[in-house]
Amino acid sequence: MALPDAEATLVALADRMRGAVAFDAKFVGMYSGGAWIAERLARTIDGDHPVGFIDASFYRDDFGSKGLKPEVKRTELPFEIEGATIVLVDDVLYTGRSVRAAINELFDYGRPARIELAVLVDRGGRELPIEPTYVGARLAVARDLSVVLSRAADGRLELTTEAAGA
Amino acid sequence: MKIEIANGRVVDPKHGIDRVAPLFVAAGKIAAIGDAPPGWSPNRTIDATGLVVCPGLVDLSARLREPGFEYKATLESEMEAAVAGGVTSLACPPDTDPPLDEPGLVEMLKYRARSLNQAHVFPVGALTVGLRGLEITEMGELAEAGCVAFSQAEAPVTDTGVLLRAMQYAATFGHRVWLRPQDAHLAGGGVAHDGEVATRLGLAAIPPSAETIALATIFALVRETGVRVHLCRLSTGEGVAMVRAAKHDGLRVSCDVAAHHLHLCEIDIGWFDAQCRLIPPLRGTRDRAALRAGLADGTIDLVCSDHTPVDDDGKQLPFGEAEPGATGLELLLPLTLKWAAEDRVPLPAALARITSAPAAILGVGAGHLGIGAPADICIFDPGAHWRVVPEALRSQGKNTPFLGLEVPGKVRMTLVGGQVVYEG
């Protein structure tokens, strides 16, 4: 099936968030795709939206079978989590396990007032009861494919598929 | 019992015999080689086609672990190992528990060994009481009980004065003294050769000077006392050179090397393999080359096995805590053959190193096939290779750095006094 244009989808996502998201919501982007999107959203949505980044590798549930992935990045949250309104941002929402890990990590930093979830693309196939608050586009994708967001040198975002497990 | 060994290649280094010929045994002695004795009618004929028929091997150092160390090995198992290895005469060091410093212990050991009717056992008595290096033993009594020489095994005599007097006393009566050239202080608590491997692995080291300084001391004492000394287990290239020079100067000393030192060096320790925890330690490649050259040119008189069975518990320990030693009776022949093949040493010369040469040091009439000599014979297949695995060894000591390797030379039959004591 044809993938939507990433840039257009990002515009759609921002439109849905504008006016709905809290004025002082803090955006936390999940590396790497979610981080790029969080930065772009913070620039186009009015309000006081500081951006942080999260690598939930240490909280994943597949450590026992897959081990640590080689490049674990530093989680950087330059603001208080305690009592904050957080918008967790990811590129592709699938099983929901990555989001679960990120939420667990956020709670180790403090107790937020609320967490909302913004995703560029929801491809269904949930294995946990997790639903996005804001969605750019919904897709149906075969199980043997991964949906991947990439960023060109000039900053343009693009969605592609590749074989799962690649 | 009349036995004819037919079609074998008879090699007797002492008498310069090396030809395919029948060998005739009667009344426990060598009756003839080549032409049958008059009226010959054998009770048994052994077909030795393709095999070598040589004197039973003489091993100058094999620990039988009795008395005192029966949990490591027993006389029964080790004597079986000896004949399985073609060894018909062996000398055992005095470091039993208690050490062989009392005639009663020596007699008991000889009696036990004799009753097994296998190899001849020649005990080496302790030079000092308890091997403590302080008081000399009753060498006269011990010699009467059967000791062929006196030694300290691995125990040092740190007081040079005591060593001098022990050698003087031995010289008075013509006793031989066998000594390990190792300076106790320089060796310290060392467990490996002072080279690259010990440096990398952080092992306490024994410098080559521990051997060379001890050799210099021993040579000086030999010149002074006139005692007959045999040096046990050379390990350094410098040591070989010193012995060569001393012999050239007319000093009456002999020396040996342990079979495993001909083949292994420090790098074989790998990641702390305790099978390579040996005394003396495995040294560098140049030392190994010098030992091999020394054995070939006669500077080193003979090879021994230094057979030391150690149980698994003794080896499954960190390197520095592991018990030193390797099993060796069944590897004496193969390791000697391997050296000879690699360095192109003719078979009779190689076999001399484990038959006539050690017999000469022991001062016994073994290690040759002269007419009238006891029929102690080893029949082996020089072309057969076998893999060193625990099941292939009769010794209770399965501790060998050669585990898993293929070695040449399979003993097919061993006779002692004309009796077949091993058939493989």
């Binding site: 690598d55 590798s57 240490f58 909280y59 450590f63 026992g64 079978s65 897959k66 081990g67 640590l68 080689p70 490049e71 674990v72 990045k73 530093r74 989680t75 667990n104 990590e105 180790d108 930093y109 403090g110 | 002072d194 080279g195 690259e196 010990a198 440096t199 990398r200 692995l201 952080g202 092992l203 080291a205 410098p207 790998g270 990641w271 702390f272 305790a274 518990d313 499954q316 320990l317 960190p318 390197f319 520095g320 805590e321």
Partner: protein
């Protein structure tokens, strides 16, 4: 020789020594330690990576410092930690070293952190585990005799990388009792593997191994000469036993020739860093003023030590 630390897929299954570890593996450990270092700055200093796993600290040689840092590291990974101080010799209890190991494996140990006074003890344990079908139990060497202290070597490398960024242009000096030092051996292997062009060993002949050149170092007996142009100075601890073994006459003479003072430090580069694995003997190998001075990174070493050990344990336990 097969490297006993790596499995068939080239992944780390034991950490026994830095010798023979490929550079990529060492760099991966250092990279993995970076995010772990930031966890120390949070309120909740735990991540759930090793939850449900049992880490046994098997210390046959006493060391509260090292044991504590391993304990902290394991607990920050949410592992269960059991401390066993077996004292000087397990054989004094009649039980062999490997028997003790077998008993603990039967209690579902996932990882052993082993410190032993004999070089090669962790290798023995790892080989035994692999041979008895317990290859899933990982061994971390916390210091064996004079042989290796790989986590210390790694945290020293991490510290150097943190302050100096690039290894390939450095001159590093290791000062003191290299002969008896597992810290020195591990660091030297790590530095040469990562391409440090000049590693120097500075000390008296009695405290340097005979074949020290085999390790790939340049030897200096004159400390001032040896410190010229150095970017990193690692001071080794001098143990009091060395004065008894006829290796050194006195602590005073040692300090005069080989103690790090501001005057000697001036021979190194102006931005050189001073390291020490600890615990320090002030006034014997290092002057207090230098130990507490601005070039000293001795305290950060300790913090990095926890992150590095967390990285090692999680790399071993994963997959």
């Amino acid at each position: 020789m097969r490297n006993p630390q790596l499995n068939a897929a080239g992944e780390l299954t034991h950490l026994l020594t830095l010798e023979g570890l490929p550079a990529e593996v060492i760099v991966r450990i250092l990279d993995t330690a970076v995010p772990f270092a930031s966890i120390a700055e949070r309120d909740v200093k735990k991540v759930p990576l090793l939850r449900g796993r049992s880490v046994f600290n098997l210390f046959f040689e006493n060391s509260t410092r090292t044991r504590t840092t391993f304990e902290i590291a394991a607990k920050r990974l949410s592992a269960d930690v059991i401390n066993l101080n077996i004292g000087v010799s397990s054989t004094s209890k009649g039980e062999t070293l490997l028997d003790t190991v077998d008993n603990l494996v039967a209690m579902n140990a996932d990882m052993f952190v082993v410190r032993h006074s004999q070089s090669g003890a962790p290798h023995l344990i790892a080989a035994h585990l692999d041979r008895t079908g317990n290859g899933h139990v990982h061994v971390v060497n916390a210091g064996d005799g004079r042989h290796a202290h790989p986590t210390q070597g790694l945290l020293d490398l991490f510290t150097i990388r943190h302050y100096k960024k690039e290894f390939r242009r450095l001159t590093v000096a290791i000062v003191g009792d290299v002969l008896h030092s597992r810290v020195a051996r591990s660091l030297i292997h790590g530095l040469t593997t990562l391409g440090v062009p000049e590693v120097r060993a500075i000390g008296p002949k009695t405290l340097l191994p005979t074949a020290v050149h085999a390790l790939g170092v340049h030897v200096h007996h004159d400390m001032r000469e040896g410190l010229k142009g150095c970017d990193v100075i690692v001071m080794l601890r001098l143990q009091s036993e060395r004065m008894k073994g006829a290796l050194l006459p006195s602590a005073g003479e040692y300090f005069k020739h080989y103690g790090l003072t501001a005057e000697k430090l001036a021979y190194a580069k102006p931005d050189a860093i001073v390291m020490h694995p600890g615990p320090m003997n002030r006034g014997i190998e290092i002057d207090s003023a230098v130990a507490d001075g601005e070039r000293s990174v001795i305290l950060p070493q300790v913090t990095f030590g926890i992150a590095v050990r967390m990285a090692v344990m999680s790399m071993l336990a994963g997959g």
